[in-house]
Amino acid sequence: MRYLTILLIILLFSCKHLNAQVYEKEVKNTILNFLKWHKEGKEHKPNEYYFVPRYDGKGTSKNYFDRDSLNLYFNNFRQSGFVSETYINQLKEYFDYYEKFLGNKPEDGEMIKVDGLDQDIVLNTFEPEEILDNLPQSKITKILIIYNKALVGINFKKNVDMIFQLTKMKNKWLIDYIGADNTRNYSLFRQ
């Protein structure tokens, strides 16, 4: 009887550990597959244009990114099956932030930088290769999974660390948040 009890405890522990390993693998696959999808530019479809500035009157509050065009962009993310609506809101927040700096309609056809549109929107950096070219050697530095939530830290190379938050919905992990892990003083995202 005593041996049976010990055996049961070991089995229970192993199952739990196995479950954690499976979850960890699922979470990591979701993140890496999403980053591969992004690296291949799958959020951009032929003949679709997403970032169309609108200048609907005087004053900077009248300048914004065309919502219909942006929705095409967001839909491509939804259809990918990698991200949740929470992440779509993060993308929306990105454009809400940058449309404050849209400025007035360029005169005389002059082309001027539009902030936010010349960097990697998903990764919030001018140097996305630092991450996307290092996917094979990426390592989970920390992971916490509680029920249907996962918080993951991934290192891509020296000084390049990111945080991902995911939710399990309908038996599938979806990304809620992608951000910088600036724990290190020399983090890429601190510059």
Partner: protein
């Protein structure tokens, strides 16, 4: 220079060779840079000093009535009567003629009536191939000349000297040639005649930038118009600004300007930069990337609503003079000098300034990052660098010590490469700040002056 197919441009009395040109399909093309080690120029001179040797070769009369125009770098010009003859030079005789697919070429040798020293002033194509040795003639190319000996001061010649001086004749001939390309009006032609040193500058510009392309012609036309309208401009400063002499180390081909952002390039500069001391000199260094080499912003080819990354554009700007930089390497090749959260790192700022001084002194531009607006999207609140630009010069003005930069945030070269793009060093705070001349970018709501956040070391692009 009527009667000559080559162009004689003498910059320096001591020079014994210079660059040659030819016209082809409406373009001026550089033909040869005579290398004294390879060209056999002394061989030519020896030949000319020994007329018996020359006479042993096939000779023919040179262009009649030829005149040699001389620019002795003191803005004095003369046209001297010369007598010339042409000599056929067979191939493989020690002359270095890259790109010559001919079986020989003609050398025109001219001699001043009054000067004992024979002058080799031009290599010309055979204007009339009949009677030439086999294969010679139609494909021969006009190349350059060399000269040898001391030139007389053309404006201080003894009036009794048999040398005939025409101060403008040589210029007129040149002007006719360049005017065929530029189509200048009378006022512009007169200006060029009065400022003839610019003629050679323009020719050199064509030579170094792919010939008389539409864009180059328009740029020179603009320069002439601008100088005509602004007579008080210092020509030397204008030349330094818009027609600098730079050495191209790498081919600035559009397809290979950029590198992957995460590349770690070997930095041959192992200098440990000491902190700049405020009592150290702050030299004036004119732009090390020419105005005409400005890289305009452009949209992505696959999505015209997105823009090419400013870091990529800044790297392309470096690539124009043969440099690039590594990715983010904060402990070796990137000086992180300012963040919104922690402010200025004074020690690193001063080291970065030492690096900038050293680089610019060697005509090396430097890529830097700047902060130009508060905050960042939630996903990375710690982000400070909003934009990348390239430092191309430095100096001091009424506002203080500054670095001059090129800003690729626009496709307008006039503002992107403006002289007024300046970042001032405040020795009290350590901040390096300034405004871009790209007014329509600068004036957007929420934007503030550029604050330098980082300096990246330049690496020779191999």
């Amino acid at each position: 220079m009527s009667g000559f197919n080559g162009i004689v441009v003498l910059y320096n009395m001591q020079m014994t060779f210079k660059v040659g040109y030819r016209y082809k399909n409406g373009k001026i093309e550089k033909i040869i840079q005579l290398d004294p080690e390879k060209s056999g120029i002394n061989n030519i001179l020896n030949q000319q000093n020994n007329l018996s040797n020359v006479n042993e070769q096939i000779t023919r009369p040179g262009p009649s009535g030829a005149k040699l125009a001389i620019n002795n770098n003191t803005n004095k010009f003369a046209s001297l009567d010369v007598s010339c003859y042409s000599t056929y030079i067979p191939p493989n005789d020690g002359y270095y003629v890259p790109g010559c697919d001919c079986e020989g070429y003609w050398v025109t040798t001219c001699t001043f009536h009054s000067v004992a020293t024979p002058w080799i002033i031009d290599f010309v194509p055979d204007p009339n191939p009949s009677g030439t040795p086999s294969g010679g003639g139609s494909n021969v190319i006009p190349v350059l000349y060399g000269f040898y000996g001391a030139l007389p001061d053309p404006c201080n010649v003894d009036p009794n000297s048999p040398v005939t001086m025409f101060c403008d004749d040589g210029r007129s001939a040149y002007l006719n040639e360049i005017n065929q390309i530029l189509g200048l009006n009378l006022a512009q032609q007169q200006w060029l005649l009065n400022n003839f040193e610019m003629e050679a500058v323009f020719r050199t510009y064509f030579e170094n930038n792919g010939g008389a392309t539409q864009e180059n012609v328009q740029f020179i036309q603009w320069a002439v118009s601008y100088l005509l309208e602004h007579p008080n401009i210092n020509l030397n400063e204008f030349k330094n600004q818009f027609f600098p002499i730079t050495t191209i180390i790498a081919d600035p081909d559009a397809d290979n300007w950029t590198d992957p952002d995460d590349e770690i390039l070997f930095d041959s500069d192992q200098t440990v930069y000491q902190q700049y001391q405020d009592n150290q000199p702050w030299p004036t260094i004119d732009r090390v990337i020419g105005y005409e080499k400005f890289v305009p912003i452009r949209k992505m080819s696959d999505d015209p609503t997105k823009y090419v990354n400013c870091l990529v554009l800044a790297k392309e700007q470096l690539g124009k003079v043969g440099y690039t930089c590594s990715g983010y390497l904060p402990q070796s090749q990137t000086f992180l000098i300012y963040t919104e959260q922690d402010g200025v790192d004074l020690s690193k700022t001063k080291k970065a300034i030492s690096y900038l001084l050293s680089s610019l002194s060697q005509n090396i531009p430097v890529l830097i990052g700047v902060d130009n607006r508060a905050g960042a999207p939630t996903a990375n609140k710690d982000n400070s660098t909003d934009h990348y630009i390239v430092v191309v010069g430095m100096g001091t003005d009424s506002k203080g010590r500054y670095f001059q930069f090129v800003d690729n945030a626009t496709d307008n070269r006039a503002t992107g490469a403006s002289y007024s793009n300046r970042l001032y060093y405040n020795s009290n705070t350590g901040k390096i700040t300034g405004q871009t001349a790209v007014v329509n970018y600068r004036n957007r709501a929420g934007m503030h002056d550029y604050i330098v956040t980082q300096v990246r070391k330049s690496i020779i692009k191999l």
